[in-house]
């Protein structure tokens, strides 16, 4: 479904790596590993469509990707370093906006049942400003469950999370992959997923 062909990624005119080819199908998990500065975030931003690849091509469902592709926009979820939350708005207002932006419906009950395991039950109407860094990260992670995207692109999803939070991310990833989803995850720490499907490791900067 997702095809990377001879991708080269550059930052400020310096080529970080080139010749990366990769194919991901339903149930596949690709973990991107490598030292700081190897280009993990840059690779994920290229796959997400935020940055242009220095060379090579990307395909989704057999079609080359253009910036602003509406199908890819609905089916791909990108969680970067910044959670994309407005500090002045409440947890539920933020998530509602992000879901409507992605063309997914908003269901207040689904929100409550999703926030409870995140330890955010009862905080739906609290402004994001009043949350800790870990709690903000958890709000961003709630989108994984709510927007029903097929391809998850997660950049260091475990940052700021406690042990329980990390286990939850692993469980959600397992369920996502078992349901035929795809995921590409950049992480320093082991993810702890148990899903038996295909696992690829993209090692950068070696």
């Amino acid at each position: 479904m997702l095809e990377l062909r001879d991708i080269a990624v550059a930052r400020s005119e310096r080529v970080l790596f080139d010749g990366l080819s990769l194919g991901l199908g339903p149930g596949d998990l690709a973990t991107v590993v490598g030292p700081n500065g190897a280009g993990k975030t840059s690779l994920l931003r290229v796959v997400a469509g935020l940055s242009r690849a220095h060379a090579g091509s990307l395909q989704w469902r057999g079609r080359p990707l253009e910036p602003g592709d509406p199908v890819y926009g609905r089916e791909r979820l990108y969680l970067g370093h910044q959670p994309g939350l407005k500090a002045d708005l409440s947890v539920s207002e933020n998530l509602r906006f992000l879901l409507e932006l992605q063309g997914a419906g908003f269901d207040p009950e689904a929100l409550e049942t999703c926030l409870a395991p995140l330890g955010l039950g009862g905080l739906a109407h609290r402004p994001v400003r009043a949350l800790s860094a870990g709690q903000r990260r958890r709000v961003a992670l709630a989108r994984m469950r709510l927007c029903g995207s097929l391809l998850w692109l997660l950049d260091e999803p475990l940052t700021n999370l406690d042990v329980d939070g990390q286990a939850l991310v692993a469980r959600w990833l397992d369920e996502h992959l078992a349901g035929g989803g795809l995921a590409m995850v950049a992480s320093h720490a082991p993810l702890g997923t148990r899903h038996p499907g295909r696992r690829l490791e993209v090692a950068l900067g070696r």
């Binding site: 469509g49 935020l50 994309g84 407005k86 409507e100 932006l101 063309g103």
Partner: protein, 225 residues
């Protein structure tokens, strides 16, 4: 199509809500506008003829500078908290999202300025008829200014200190607005029809509202890259 509309409304609602919760930032350009305008009668001779002569020009320049002040924040917070990435990645057309952001911005910065003008224009002894022409001209010009400004704000969004560059980019492009706007007010003061310059301001708005969103979208894609 309905998803596109729902997303556009959701964006407008989010921006309005977030801005109203920090109403102090909204009030800042308006206070600046009023203070600048009260400085002129104090600095110049407070004579009726002098003030009525410089009034239209001073009002227009103050309105331009005040809206420039509000422009810096247009994309800044979205860039800082990562919501700009999500906007660019969304399945919605980025030009539509850009248009919504620029017009929402106008609702909160341009429109209050227009509403305030009839009050502050009293300080310059403008005749009643000219005050309404002035307000109408500002009502036509400020959305154009928001759209032009949004292009520049999108280009400078990734710069840490973009405010100075913003002024240099926007003010030359605002010259036609200033020329036609001040002309309309002048004609009204002389008791003549101001329809010509007002139509030209409306035409400039039509031009900006069709072209600027595309330019803003392209600039935003560059800025998040």
């Amino acid at each position: 199509m309905s998803g596109m509309l729902a997303a556009a409304l959701a964006l407008a609602r989010r921006d309005l809500r977030a801005a109203l919760r920090r109403w102090g930032e909204l009030a800042l350009p308006l206070c600046f506008f009023v203070i600048v305008l009260t400085l002129f009668p104090l600095g110049l001779a407070p004579e009726r003829d002098t003030l009525a002569a410089v009034g239209p020009g001073v009002l227009w320049v103050a309105a331009l500078l005040a809206s420039l002040l509000a422009l810096e924040s247009l994309f800044r917070s979205d860039m800082d908290d990562g919501s700009m990435e999500q906007l660019v990645l969304s399945p919605q057309p980025l030009a539509l999202m850009a248009l919504v952001k620029a017009l929402t911005h106008w609702l909160m910065s341009g429109l209050p300025l227009v509403l305030l003008t009839p009050l502050v224009a009293q300080a310059f002894y403008l005749p009643g008829n000219a005050i309404w022409v002035l307000a109408l001209a500002l009502f036509l010009a400020t959305p154009t200014l928001s759209l032009i400004g949004a292009v520049a704000a999108a280009l400078t969004a990734s710069l840490r200190r973009g405010a100075g560059v913003l002024g240099i980019l926007v003010l030359p492009l605002a010259v036609p607005l200033l020329v036609f706007g001040a002309r309309a007010t002048d004609l009204a003061i002389q008791g003549q029809s101001a329809a010509g310059p007002l139509y030209l301001l409306a035409a400039l708005f039509a031009l900006a509202v069709t072209l600027a969103p595309l330019a803003i979208a392209a600039a935003l894609r560059i800025s998040v890259d």
